[in-house]
């Protein structure tokens, strides 16, 4: 059993940013464990550009963005291991990992969970029909095309307007496939406006809102799908069915934080984010176990993932310096206008950034953070979208430790 100050699980954007930041803060007895052959995480397959606009003020491809952090990791000589799969994390921060070299065990002072997220599947959303070949989640299709040089199909229908689905609509089109349409069950797109513009409108790919796939056909390979319009309760409206012949159905119907290990450690998860419940230090319900990036909450932009991971690294350092691992008791609650907030708790002792996601699109809205009738923070937005995360600063000096924080969007 090897002792480490911090074990970082996952060498994607969150893990890399956390490692670099920790190292720069003087915490050097750390180790990144990555299950893939290379560092970089999901960015490796995101060969389109648009990454880094916030952080580097230039448009990078996914691999380019990742490489900036990988270069730093190498320059600083930060220890990492690839092709190592962590199979268990205990509440006592014992980490077990498997590789071709054997079974490794580490005892860590702190564990940083940076495992990212996975895609919601057909089974999770109960799409009826047969189960032929040719039904892929967007990320799997992206992996086949961009990492393995494999073309999944020719005549394509996309369900869900998540960003990866939109990116794949363009990617498939550029490689000669025919993307017939994108269908979204919500009355508004779930991807970013810039992706609707650049990936669909620029290629004249139609987007149908309030539509879903109600049947999948084909015995061996997909032969077609039936699509219908839905009502406000997302129920298909009889008589609106339309048939689309296609050999490929791409699903871009949501991302879920990858929390298998968190569950094993017994962390409390938030049923809304599907990630861990954390305080303003990004510390979970288990002392010394922290989480940041898409494993905590699914972000729209990788830039925000990196920033969140760096904030987590800073918190870990502060916890090490003070030898105090927080015990947050002030609850942060949201009303029906907001899907969720991160963090979900605070100690009230330090300033922090609150992330939240509006439930519906809106214009000229204000986020209010209140404790009973006292507003302790507010921020105005000309436009809000569920696809775009909102962040605002919360000053600790204004928090009354006796009362919970209530957030609303009006």
């Amino acid at each position: 059993m090897e002792n480490k100050d911090v074990i970082i699980i996952g060498g994607g954007p969150a893990g890399l940013a956390a490692a670099v930041q920790l190292y720069k803060l003087g915490i050097t007895n750390i180790l990144i464990l990555e299950r893939e052959k290379h560092l970089g995480g999901i960015l490796r397959q995101c060969i389109h550009d648009g990454f880094g606009l916030q952080r580097f003020c230039e448009s990078l491809s996914g691999p380019e963005y990742a490489q900036r952090f990988i270069d730093e990791v190498r320059e600083l000589n930060i220890p990492y291991m690839t092709e190592v799969t962590v199979t268990e994390v205990t509440a006592g921060r014992k980490v077990t990992a498997i590789s071709r070299r054997g079974v490794m065990e580490f005892q860590a002072k702190a564990v940083a969970l940076t495992m990212g997220c996975r895609e919601r599947t057909r089974g999770a959303i109960s799409i009826p029909g047969t189960r032929p070949a040719g039904v892929y989640t967007a990320g799997v299709a992206q992996s086949y095309m961009n990492l393995a040089n494999i073309m999944p199909g020719q005549e394509v229908v996309i369900l869900g307007s998540g960003d990866i689905g939109l990116i794949m609509a363009r990617r498939l089109t550029l490689e000669g496939a025919h993307v017939k349409a994108v269908f979204e069950v919500q009355p508004y797109p779930s991807g970013l406006p810039r992706n609707i513009e650049q990936c669909l409108n620029d290629y004249e790919i139609p987007l149908f809102l309030s539509h879903t796939v109600v049947d999948v056909k084909g015995h061996s390979r997909l032969e077609g799908v039936t699509v219908a319009q839905v009502d406000e309760q997302y129920r298909p409206i009889p008589g609106t069915e339309q048939e689309y012949n296609c050999d490929t159905l791409i699903l871009s119907v949501g991302l879920i934080p990858e929390n298998e290990l968190s569950l094993g450690a017994g962390l409390t998860l938030d049923s809304r984010t599907k990630g861990a419940v954390v305080d303003e230090d990004y510390q979970t319900s288990c002392t010394g176990i922290f989480a940041a990036g898409n494993v905590l909450q699914v972000h729209d932009l990788v830039d925000f993932v990196s920033i969140e991971a760096e904030r987590m690294a800073l918190s870990i350092q502060e916890c090490f310096l003070s030898s105090q691992f927080g015990n947050a008791e002030i609850e942060i609650v949201v009303d029906a206008s907001i899907s969720y907030s991160v963090p979900q708790k605070t100690t009230g002792k330090k300033d922090f950034t609150l992330s939240l996601r509006p439930k519906r699109p809106g214009r000229n809205c204000t986020v209010f953070v209140k404790q009973e009738n006292v507003t302790i923070a507010r921020k105005k937005f000309a436009k809000v979208l569920p696809a775009e995360m909102i962040q605002l600063a919360i000053p600790a000096e204004r928090i009354d430790p006796e009362k919970k924080l209530e957030i609303t969007l009006i």
Binding site: R35, E83, T85, T87, T96, I98, S99, R100, R101, G102, V103, R118, E119, T121, R122, G123, A124, I125, S126, P128, G129, T130, R131, P132, A133, G134, T137, G139, V140, S143, Y144, M145, L147, A148, N149, I150, M151, P152, G153, Q154, E175, V214, D215, V216, H219, S220, R221, P236, D247, E260, L263, S271
Partner: protein, 490 residues
């Protein structure tokens, strides 16, 4: 050139055909199995609840009752011989009303007549003790009921048969059968075979084959049922199959069953289908399962849904009255050389080996079979890394580093297991074949992480190109080719 002359040809590589093949391989015979799919266990053998039934709902004296009881009693040994996952969990049939009590008691009596052991009426307190998630005021507890992995059982039977000399032909749909004196000439796939005996184990297609053999007048009717597969997280709430009280005919409505691998199955419901290849899930029935399933299992929630499937029980019916009839295993004097199996449906999984022995007996009525002294009833399964102790895991990796490469994260399946699934006797050539052998892709991410890795392994190990990687059926190519052709030296 391959010699396509056989003593016995078995049509169908489902659990029945594979059992018959395995039991016949106890004798010195040249045996072949003709399967239209690319693997065994592609039809209803892999589309069921995976129950080892005790046999208390079948008419006393029927083949169903006789074979179920026989199959149930011997299964610990069978599971050990074939090295397959099996748990004798027991099962509860719960009731609420007087009517339920009457039906349950009736089937308890029938069970006892059939020779089912360990049937016991239990009160609510005992029921809660056995499984506190099971609703119900009282229950029939069936001690001997169990759960098994139906795909692996089918695969194990086929592998064991193959080890004992049986040839399996895949992608070999039987198109024509001609009687030529003492022999049959069978056209299957692109080949012609010759055999002295034909055993019809074609499952949902049994009547089609029966007609080809000249045995007319049989009829089957498809009772289709749909299922939900729930995440392993849901299995913390249930440790024993819970069935609602049967109706007067012995039919069970939607129920919940833990699988031997740790998932929960909710279903099947039951409705008529005409199409043997109809395995589609339908919106109405999926909604029905959610509604009825919630009544029997209160954790039937969308957050646990990982997959749906459907299967069909093709029951033999009386062409005149439409009444459901017993299994049929026939060898008619006017059709020598044929053993015809009609309407082998539930509890076919439990009954597979007893049925196979009855097929052997039919053949033995006509000729003396010489015992194969080399017959080995044992077959080794793939060692599952996930189920081993830490020490054993270390040993496995030390012996074969492929055990240290985790391919499927949800089910912790390693590269070693995938490679074995591909290279074992009757190795898998399709993604579904690998799934069925290893459980890779069967977890909550449904292949999101491992599918790309497995298809790469199929290409590498089977030396096939992108467009030749099949999902399950013939023609189920997963890819159309490369995105871009890469020239040598690039």
């Amino acid at each position: 050139m391959r010699d396509n002359t056989y003593d016995i040809l078995i049509i169908g590589g489902g659990v029945i055909g594979s059992s018959v093949a395995r039991e016949l391989s106890r004798y010195r015979l040249r045996i072949g199995v003709l399967e239209k799919e690319l693997d065994v266990a592609c039809g209803n053998s892999c589309r069921n609840t995976g129950m080892l039934h005790a046999g208390f709902t079948y008419k006393p004296g029927s083949l169903k009752a006789e074979c179920a009881v026989e199959g149930n009693r011997e299964f610990d040994q069978v599971a050990q011989e074939l090295d397959i996952p099996f748990k004798r969990t027991g099962k509860v049939v719960v009731g609420f009303s007087d009517e339920d009590m009457q039906n349950i008691l009736r089937f308890k009596r029938i069970g006892e007549l059939n020779g089912v052991r360990g049937l016991e009426m239990i009160d609510k307190a005992k029921l809660n003790q056995i499984d506190n998630s099971a609703g119900g005021e009282f229950a029939l507890y069936s001690r001997d009921s169990g759960i098994l992995n139906p795909m692996l059982y089918n695969i194990a039977l086929a592998e064991n048969a193959h080890q004992n000399g049986v040839d399996f032909f895949f992608d070999s749909e039987v198109k024509a059968i001609k009687r030529q004196g003492e022999h049959f000439q069978v056209t299957a796939g692109d080949s012609v075979f010759s055999s002295r005996w034909i055993v019809n184990c074609a499952g949902m297609h049994c009547v089609t084959i029966s007609e080809m053999l000249g045995l007319h007048g049989h009829q089957v009717k498809g009772f289709k049922g749909e299922y939900y597969v729930l995440d392993k997280k849901a299995s913390q709430f249930m440790n024993i199959p819970v069935y609602p009280a049967p109706n007067a005919k012995g039919g069970f409505s939607t129920h919940a069953t833990p699988t031997v691998d740790g998932n929960i199955l909710v279903g099947p419901d039951s409705y008529i289908t005409e199409d043997p290849d109809d395995f589609a899930s339908t919106r109405d029935h999926m909604q029905g399962l959610v509604k009825d399933g919630s009544a029997i299992f209160k954790h039937m929630k969308a957050e646990y849904f990982i997959r749906n499937f459907a299967g069909t029980r093709w029951k033999r019916v009386d062409p005149e009255t439409g009444d459901v009839l017993d299994f049929l295993i026939e060898n008619r004097d006017d059709h020598p050389g044929v053993v015809n199996l009609i309407g082998i449906e539930s509890p076919g999984l439990t009954c597979a080996l007893p049925i196979a022995r009855r097929v052997v007996a039919k053949i033995q009525e006509k000729e003396v079979l010489e015992v194969n002294n080399d017959f080995n009833p044992y077959r080794k399964g793939i060692v599952r890394f996930a189920e081993q102790s830490k020490e054993r895991k270390k040993e496995l990796i030390a012996t074969d580093p492929d055990y240290g490469e985790i391919v499927c994260r949800c089910e912790t399946v390693t590269r070693a297991e995938i490679v074995q699934a591909i290279n074992n006797p009757l190795g898998a050539v399709t993604l579904t074949g690998i799934k069925n052998r290893t459980r890779a892709c069967m977890g909550r991410c449904q292949g999101g992480y491992c599918e790309t890795r497995i298809t790469a392994l199929i290409q590498e190990q089977c030396k096939v190109r992108e467009h030749e990687v099949m999902y399950q059926h013939k023609g189920s190519g997963m890819f159309i080719g490369k995105v871009r052709e890469v020239l040598d030296g690039e």
